[in-house]
Amino acid sequence: MTTPAWLIEPETRMGPCACCGRRAKGDFVEKTIAGAGRVLRATMFSADLASEDGFLQRTDARVKVGSAVVLLLVVAFTRHVSVLVGLYAATVLAASASQVPARLLVRRVWLFVPLFTGVVAFPAALSVITPGHIVVPMGTWFGTPFGFTAQGLTAAGLIVMRAATSISVVVLLTITTPWPRLLAALRALRVPRAFVLVLGLAYRYLFHLLTSITDMYEARKARAPRDHDLVRGRAFVAATAGATFGKAHALSEEVYLAMVARGYRGQATAIDRGPLGAVDILVFVAVVAVTLVAIGVDHVVVH
């Protein structure tokens, strides 16, 4: 093998290795990849939280999943905002007893609630959608007074608080429970084993593929200067998506063979945990009691 001359001679076409003062911010590709990295870090942080010695972390995952289902049902059928505010406060209290930073919980909940639920609920507060007593007048609409009605604001508040409380319950469940225990709890609650197996595989390989995408981007970054051309950026994203799809396909075949080699024949099996402890049963009874009280108060307030 003969080494070509251009590989031996010093490269003369490059500029000096020094700053020229011109700075540029990252493009959309860089931001997307950085976002993927943040997902990984956030998950690692969640894993740390799940291993803390807090109230919810000590509670059996099956009890937490069961309690979450009960709470979500109660939240869905509650008709008064004050009851929902009470339930939301209970989730914040549970978070603080579980060493979950209140800022983290509030940010995760109130970042998405205004964005998705608020946008839907906002028009419902207007007199054209929900007629009633106008408490915030905004002028006239075809000769009739127009503005936010008390009934509309109550309905919007109900929707927003339902969403916020439900999201709080789910966020608390997921950040205080290690993913494997959550999957085991789903199995124990008779969720089909094949479905739980697929969920576990998806979670496992999501990290593998995310790392692969980050590697591809860093390999590109190591070989080429920052490129601001959007067309080339889109082409890179498409090529990365294609390569990742190909990798995922090859990996899925290999994973299936690895499962078959160890006796998998289409029926998923796993070790389930033993019976619940007395404290776990007590926690579940307490949750049911709280929900019964909430239903009672809601009934009294509404009537």
């Binding site: 494997p180 595989l201 499962m259 080699a261």
Partner: protein, 276 residues
């Protein structure tokens, strides 16, 4: 079902990927009980395909593969009794640990095989604890696979196969990508397993570890055929063979102020390069 001392008998096998790309051409091979066999060859010569055939994960396009006296065909592998007995006897450690570690935690991973082979739950739990202790990874039991290093993943992959105590262990490039200490640990493990009576087949191109991994070597050519078989010493001494099969190459290196060139293999390195 008739059991014999021949664990595998491969007879005149062809295998093609996508009906076009030849992976194996006219390969015949016998592996006997308690043997340590290394399948040697360059990248893409068909070693991994051979292991997948022996593991009953693929079937040949032509020729036959017999395991424990029964031909490995799709109908045979669909048979519950045979599939369960065969999978319990043959363990396969894949080259890619990421493909093999698909469960949420190390404990789930190691228990996957025995649970699916119908072992009793308490027996599974006992064996999982024992094998994690044996391989020095008990503290990793509740960790997720993405939190493990390459060496730890390899140990977990081996544990996930050893837990069912298979008679035959198939390893695909077991030392590739491992640090020297983990490579040494693996070689010691193979010696121990062989002493315990296991049949071991390794696909590798790691000539440095050959003495510890095998008593018999089978060499594949880049034309996907078996071109030689013999003891590690015989194979390593046959430089024209190793060069023709792309297992050694002309190598130039420097000793202080002197640069010289020779075929790169262990024996040569230890004799002609003693002037280091």
């Amino acid at each position: 079902m008739s059991w014999s001392t021949d664990v595998f008998v491969v007879d005149d096998v062809d295998f093609l990927y996508l009906d076009r790309f030849v992976a194996l051409a006219g390969v015949s091979l016998t592996i006997r009980t308690g043997e340590r066999v290394a399948l040697l060859g360059a990248n893409g010569c068909g070693k991994s395909t051979m292991l997948k055939l022996l593991a009953g994960l693929i079937v040949p396009d032509r020729g036959t593969v017999n395991a424990f006296g029964t031909e490995l065909t799709e109908p045979a592998l669909d048979d519950d009794q045979f599939a369960r007995a065969f999978r319990a006897r043959v363990g396969f450690v894949f080259q890619s640990s990421d493909a093999q570690l698909f469960s949420p935690t190390v404990r789930d991973e190691v228990s996957f095989g025995p649970l699916h082979l119908g072992f009793d739950r308490s027996e599974v739990e006992r064996r999982v604890d024992d094998v994690l202790e044996l391989l020095g990874i008990a503290e990793l039991a509740d960790r997720a696979p993405y939190q493990l290093s390459g060496g730890e993943k390899k140990r977990v992959a081996i544990a996930s196969v050893l837990v069912t105590s298979p008679d035959v262990l198939l390893f695909d490039e077991p030392t590739a990508g491992l640090d020297p200490r983990t490579q040494d640990w693996f070689c010691d493990l193979v010696v121990e397993l062989h002493r315990a009576g296991k049949t071991i087949v390794c696909a590798t191109h790691d000539l440095a570890a050959l003495d510890q991994l095998a008593d018999r070597c089978v060499v594949f050519s880049e034309e996907h055929r078996i071109v030689a078989a013999g003891s590690p010493a015989e194979i390593l001494a046959d430089l024209p063979l190793l060069e023709a099969t792309n297992l050694v190459h002309l190598h130039a290196h420097r000793h202080h102020d002197r640069v010289h060139t020779h075929k790169h293999d262990l024996d040569h390195y230890e004799t002609e390069c003693d002037h280091r």
